[in-house]
C-alpha cells in the first residue's frame, strides 16, 4: 500500500491520464460498461505497481497496463460474446454538439463501424496515433510491437478507414439516415 505522499503523487501523475485510459479501453473492448470495469481494474493495478514506477512517460506506462488488462479481459470473456459485434443502442458514441452534428453525422457512423471492424492491433494503433496523438516510439512501447510494424500497420489501417469514408454508403448507414 502507498503512503499518503505516494498516493498524492499517483493522483497528480497518473489520474490525469484517466481519459486516455478509458478511450483506449473503450475501443479495445467495444463498449461502455466493460471498458469502465477494465479501466478501474487497470487503475488499481497501476496503483499497486506505482512504487515501482520511477519517472519516464507516465501515459505510456499507464496505457501499457490498460492494454494488458484489456487483452486479459478479452481472453477471459471471449466465450458467449461476439467481440466484433457493435451494438449502437448500447455503445453509441457520446452526444456531439448540435453544431458539429450535421457535418459529422455521416462520417461518424462510417468511421465508428470501420474502426470497430479493424483487427484489434490496427484498431489500437489508430486509437493511439489518431485519437491519443502518441508518437511511433510511444506506440511501440505501449503495444510491445516493433516500430517498423507499427508504421506498416498504421498506413494499412489508415487506408482502410479512408476507403470506408469515401466508398459508397453501406446499407446500415443508409438505414441510419
Amino acid at each position: 500500500m502507498l503512503d499518503s505522499q505516494e498516493q498524492a503523487r499517483f493522483e497528480t501523475l497518473v489520474l490525469p491520464h484517466l481519459d486516455a485510459a478509458h478511450n483506449l479501453a473503450r475501443w479495445l473492448l467495444h463498449g461502455g460498461a466493460d471498458a469502465e470495469d477494465a479501466v478501474q481494474e487497470a487503475m488499481l493495478r497501476a496503483y499497486r505497481f506505482f512504487s515501482g514506477f520511477r519517472g519516464g512517460d507516465v501515459r505510456a506506462w499507464l496505457l501499457q497496463i490498460v492494454r494488458n488488462t484489456c487483452f486479459t479481459w478479452l481472453q477471459k470473456n471471449r466465450h458467449g460474446k461476439d467481440t466484433d459485434e457493435f451494438d449502437e443502442e448500447v455503445h453509441g458514441p457520446p452526444g456531439p454538439t448540435p453544431e458539429t452534428l450535421a457535418i459529422a453525422e455521416d462520417s461518424r457512423g462510417r468511421l465508428t463501424r470501420a474502426l470497430e471492424s479493424l483487427p484489434s492491433r490496427s484498431r489500437e494503433i489508430i486509437v493511439l496515433r489518431e485519437l491519443e496523438g502518441c508518437s511511433y516510439k510511444e506506440i511501440a512501447i505501449i503495444t510491445s510491437i516493433p516500430i517498423g510494424t507499427v508504421m506498416s500497420t498504421l498506413s494499412r489501417a489508415r487506408r482502410q478507414l479512408q476507403l470506408a469514408l469515401t466508398g459508397p454508403a453501406d446499407k446500415e448507414s443508409i438505414h441510419d439516415l
Binding site: 484517466l18 458539429t100 459529422a104 461518424r108 465508428t112 489518431e130 485519437l131 479512408q162
Partner: protein
C-alpha cells in the same frame, strides 16, 4: 507511376516523425510529386474527419469518482483506550475523509473542466476550419490586407503579422466563435499543416503559455497585453512554441 515515398515517408512526415533533414528533403520532393501531395491531403482529411467524428471517449465522472474512492486516503492505525474516544474519532475521521474525497473530486473536476471545455471548443473550431471553404474569410498573405479586414467586425483589433520568412506564412483570417463570443482567427501555414491562432480580449493579467493536446491536436495558450491567444494545430508542439515567440517578440 507509383512513387516509392507515397507510403511510409508520407505517413512519417504527416506524423512529425521525420528528422529535420528528412522533412526538408521530403518538402522539396513534394514540390514535384503530385502523388505525394494527394497522399498527404488524404491523410489530413482523414485526420480531420476522425477529429470531427468525436470518437474520443472520455472517462465518465462516475468512473473517476469510483476510482478515487477505491484509492482512498491512508487511514491511521492506532489503539485508543476508551471506546467513546474511538467512536468520536471515527466520526471525525469519516467526516474528514468525506470532505477530503469530495474536495479532491470537485477540485480535480473543476480544473479539468475549464481546460477541457476550452480546449475542446478550440479544437472543434480548428477542425471546422479545415472543412473545404471554411479556413479563411479573407485570403491574403499580406498583413496590410488582413488587419483592416477585421476593422468593424470585432470590438478589438487583433495583431496581424506575416512570418513567411520565419517559416510561418500568413494565409488569411476569419471570424470564429469560441466561448460564445466572436474571436479573430489568424491562419498560418507550417509546412503542410495549418495553424489557427484564436485571439480575443481578456481582463486577466499576462500569463506564460500553457499547452496541451486534445484528440491528437496540440494547443498552446497565453495572455499578453489584454489579449488571450490560443494556437492550435496538428504540427509538432515545437512549431507552436516557435510561433508563440514570433507573436510575442514585439
Amino acid at each position: 507511376m507509383i512513387c516509392d515515398r507515397a507510403g511510409a515517408v508520407v505517413h512519417g512526415y504527416f506524423d512529425n516523425e521525420l528528422d529535420a533533414a528528412g522533412a526538408a528533403e521530403f518538402e522539396l520532393h513534394l514540390e514535384q510529386c503530385s502523388e505525394c501531395v494527394y497522399a498527404l491531403e488524404d491523410l489530413e482529411s482523414l485526420h480531420a474527419s476522425i477529429g470531427l467524428a468525436q470518437l474520443y471517449e472520455r472517462a465518465p465522472a462516475t468512473l473517476r469518482k469510483k476510482i478515487l474512492a477505491s484509492l482512498g486516503p491512508a487511514r491511521p492505525v492506532a489503539v485508543f483506550p476508551s471506546r467513546t474516544v474511538w467512536r468520536w474519532l471515527a466520526v471525525a475521521a469519516a467526516i474528514l475523509l468525506a470532505t477530503y474525497v469530495s474536495w479532491r473530486v470537485t477540485s480535480l473536476g473543476h480544473s479539468g473542466n475549464y481546460d477541457t471545455v476550452l480546449a475542446a471548443e478550440i479544437v472543434d473550431a480548428h477542425l471546422r476550419s479545415l472543412q473545404p471553404g471554411h479556413l479563411t474569410d479573407v485570403i491574403s498573405t499580406d498583413q496590410h490586407t488582413v488587419k483592416p479586414w477585421f476593422d468593424g467586425k470585432l470590438d478589438f483589433s487583433p495583431p496581424v503579422q506575416d512570418f513567411g520568412d520565419q517559416g510561418f506564412p500568413l494565409q488569411g483570417g476569419r471570424i470564429d466563435v469560441v466561448h460564445g463570443r466572436s474571436v479573430a482567427a489568424l491562419v498560418y501555414a507550417r509546412r503542410k499543416h495549418f495553424v489557427n491562432v484564436f485571439i480575443w480580449p481578456t481582463d486577466e493579467k499576462d500569463r506564460a503559455p500553457s499547452s496541451g493536446s486534445q484528440q491528437g491536436y496540440q494547443w498552446l495558450e497565453w495572455r499578453k497585453g489584454g489579449l488571450e491567444f490560443c494556437a492550435v494545430s496538428d504540427a509538432a508542439p515545437s512549431a507552436l512554441e516557435e510561433l508563440h515567440s514570433l507573436l510575442t517578440s514585439n
